[in-house]
Amino acid sequence: MNVTIRRRNKKKYREWVLWLLLLPSLMGMLIFYLLPFFLSMYYAMIDNVVSHRFVGLQNFIDTFHNLSFQQALKNTAFFILVGVPLNLICSFTIANLLKKVTKLKVFFGLIFLIPMIIPAGAVVFVWKSIFDVNGILNWVLYSVGLPMKNWLESEWVLGIVIIIFLWKNIGIGMILFWTGLNRIPKTYYEMARVEGGGAMGQLFHITLVYIMPTGFVAALLSIINSFKIFKEIFLLFGNYPSEWVYLLQHYMNNQFLAANAQKLSASAGIISAFIVSVLFFFFHSQRKLSEHFS
């Protein structure tokens, strides 16, 4: 009995210590993230910062009806729906290939990680020199007699942005998948081979199943990183890019410059709600699938 009480007390004590150690981070989170978020939601529910008249959800409704916001939402959604799956597929494929490489594995791994640490300005400079009207791509097309194009001002510009996004973010996905793949016991593959399972069978019944938790994490990170591509787009195109790459961050940035705290906060609230929904969906799906496979 005494032992039980002692164990319980020790457990409580440990919990207190853990909370104490977490406190600085939690305080930081509260002061620099949660409080500003609630403050911005307050701004989203008043008419302006002078009169502070409560207007409820009117700012959110106006934002949804705003044509520029709708354009930005459409572009952002398309970018995420195309860019994120492509990123996952490419990362997974490269991780799989890298697993099979025997020589210079670390070197090849590093090649894919380097884009992550290159500053946005340098990234923009590199890609602009490729896709600019006087860039390398047009030079190649001209050399082979094909028509040139102003790629950065054409309808293909979102594709170029997706390429930049993939180039920058394949590394992190690759590392995650590589780690996940290495954790799958080799015995499962041996058993599958023994029982006559081919490469496709192994892929669908072993690899994809056991890599799923890692895949969820990679997908989540990929969605978060998809919002960060705004830096490069802003450096390339400024506050008002073409209608194909006008994203939600452009809308928010321009509201900031116009000192319209209400529209800015309302759109931030909408994006937050979207991200929370996605997170909720991901965690819920992952839990369900984990239960299914266990």
């Binding site: 044509l67 354009q71 001002e153 073409s242 900031f256 000192a259």
Partner: protein, 497 residues
């Protein structure tokens, strides 16, 4: 011995009185001839402007303290924070006025924050306004204040103006205040100075093309552009220049109100007229001092005398004249000048102007009345520092002061200085100097008293929205139709935000 000395003294005094070598300094005849000689020297060598400004007929020989005592309330107290987009030096009117104001009101403390990066200043101002941490008085000269006013972030200055008994509207160019009113007839900003846009044209060109716009009250930028294109065709010379108009920015700046309808959120950039104007803009020839680059249009550095610009390059047809020096210079009747009098640039029949020196009061400040008192002090008549006319001009950022007395003093000083400098470099004029100056002043004051239209196109907006595609068109990488479509779409996004 004493008697002898007294006799000598009386003799000296008597002789002195008879010959003029007396202890008294005044002698009417000598004094008058000396005065004439001094006046002649003034014309030739340029005396200090000091003496001219302090002439009795202007009554402006007061010190700043004397001028200020009349109109200020001695019971003021509090702290004011001011944000200024200008370096801190003796040419900064706000810095100068702040020092004087604090001397007059020891209970008032003024803190000024100076900025020199426009983009950073704009971003910082947005953050501060939204978070209620903005200064009490904000310099809004280089940032688009209409959006801040529409969001209710700037105080309406009319109630403060009307409640201030010491502020007499008749001392100011009220028409300029009216030009800055918003759609609700409120006044979110006050200009401490303003500039009227005008152009001067080559006289022989003007006559041969029947372009007597001097007599027509003004010329629009569109008319100038059409005239330029016509001249290129008829004179068969593609190397004609529109000096200081030679970038596409200008057409958009002057025609912006015709291209967008902000109320209905519509843009009119995909019309045949717009396409036609794009083609005309492309034909504008740039001088070697103006270049069009992918980062933005270049700027021409003009010479002091407009005559030099026309003479240096026979192909120059138009030269922009907008600062107080430019307009005054082109008005003065120097002999043998090959340019016209300044012609106002109009839009919708009204002379166009912009304000390089505009301030607003934050709507959330607790010191609105004190802020207004300080702003009205900055606008009020002042004893202008007279060592250098250039200093005076920069005090008002090269614009015309909003106060009529300051305006008259500055224009007169600029006119005198221009005549002096003109004389030094060899330009002469006929007629009486005083009459010439008075006539020029009257003409400028007549213009400044007209109802004008403020042009406040945000240059950042132009560089973001229009210039990237315009540049591609100007260098031949994009057609006019593609350019028009793309600019139209971007502008619609901007209007709908």
């Amino acid at each position: 011995m004493n008697k002898f000395l007294k006799f000598i003294l009386v003799l000296v005094i008597a002789i002195g009185n008879l010959t003029g070598c007396s202890f008294e300094t005044k002698n009417d005849e000598l004094y008058n001839s000396k005065l004439e000689e001094i006046t002649d020297h003034l014309d030739k060598y340029g005396e200090s402007v000091d003496e001219l400004i302090k002439s009795p007929q202007n009554g402006n020989n007061w010190t700043q303290k004397e001028l200020a005592t009349d109109s200020t309330d001695s019971a003021l107290s509090g702290t004011l924070r001011i944000s200024v987009m200008w370096p801190d030096n003796e040419t900064n009117l706000i810095a100068v006025a702040a020092k004087e104001f604090q001397d007059l009101h020891p209970e008032v403390k003024i803190q000024i924050q100076f900025h020199d990066d426009v983009l950073k200043y704009q971003a910082q101002t947005s953050v501060e306004l939204m978070s209620n941490t903005a200064a009490d008085i904000i310099d809004l000269s280089y940032i688009p204040y209409e959006r801040y006013a529409a969001a209710g972030l700037l105080a309406d200055l009319y109630p403060l103006m009307n409640a201030d008994d010491s502020f007499h509207k008749e001392d100011y160019f009220v028409n300029v205040f009216e030009a800055f009113e918003d759609s609700q007839n409120g006044l979110a900003v006050v200009p401490l100075s303003f500039i009227f846009n005008s152009v001067t044209m080559r006289q022989d060109f003007m006559k041969s093309f029947d372009a007597e716009f001097e007599n027509r009250g003004g010329i629009s930028y569109q008319q100038m552009l059409d005239l330029y294109v016509r001249a290129q065709a008829e004179m068969e010379d593609e190397n004609l220049y529109m000096s200081e108009f030679a970038s596409a920015t200008n057409w958009f700046e002057f025609e912006w109100d015709n291209l967008v309808d902000t109320r209905n959120k519509k843009a009119y950039m995909n019309t045949p007229e717009f396409l036609s104007n794009l083609e005309k803009i492309k034909r504008i020839k740039l001088t070697e001092n103006v270049t069009q680059t992918k980062d933005g249009p270049g700027v021409l550095g003009g010479g002091y005398f407009r005559d030099k610009i026309f003479k240096m390059n026979p192909a120059v047809l138009f030269v922009l004249s907008s600062s107080i020096e430019d307009i005054t210079q082109t008005l003065l009747p120097f002999n043998d000048m090959i340019y016209s009098k300044p012609i106002p640039i109009i839009s919708d029949g009204m002379p166009t102007m912009y304000a390089p020196f505009v301030f607003g009061i934050t709507n959330t400040t607790q010191n609105k009345e004190l802020a207004w008192k300080f702003l009205s002090y900055c606008m009020a008549e002042r004893a202008l520092p007279v060592k250098e006319v250039d200093t005076n001009s920069f005090l008002f950022r090269l614009g015309f002061p909003i106060n009529k007395q300051n305006f008259r003093k500055l224009v007169k000083a600029v006119a005198n200085e221009t005549l002096r400098k003109g004389g030094v470099v060899g330009y002469s004029f006929s007629g009486n100097r005083t009459a010439v100056i008075e006539e020029s002043m009257a003409q400028v004051e007549k213009w400044c008293g007209m109802k004008g239209k403020v042009m406040q196109m945000d240059l950042n907006l132009f560089l973001d929205l229009i210039y990237p595609d315009l540049y591609q068109y100007l260098i031949g990488k994009q057609t006019a139709e593609q350019t028009a479509t793309r600019i139209q779409t971007k502008t619609e996004i901007y209007l709908n935000e």
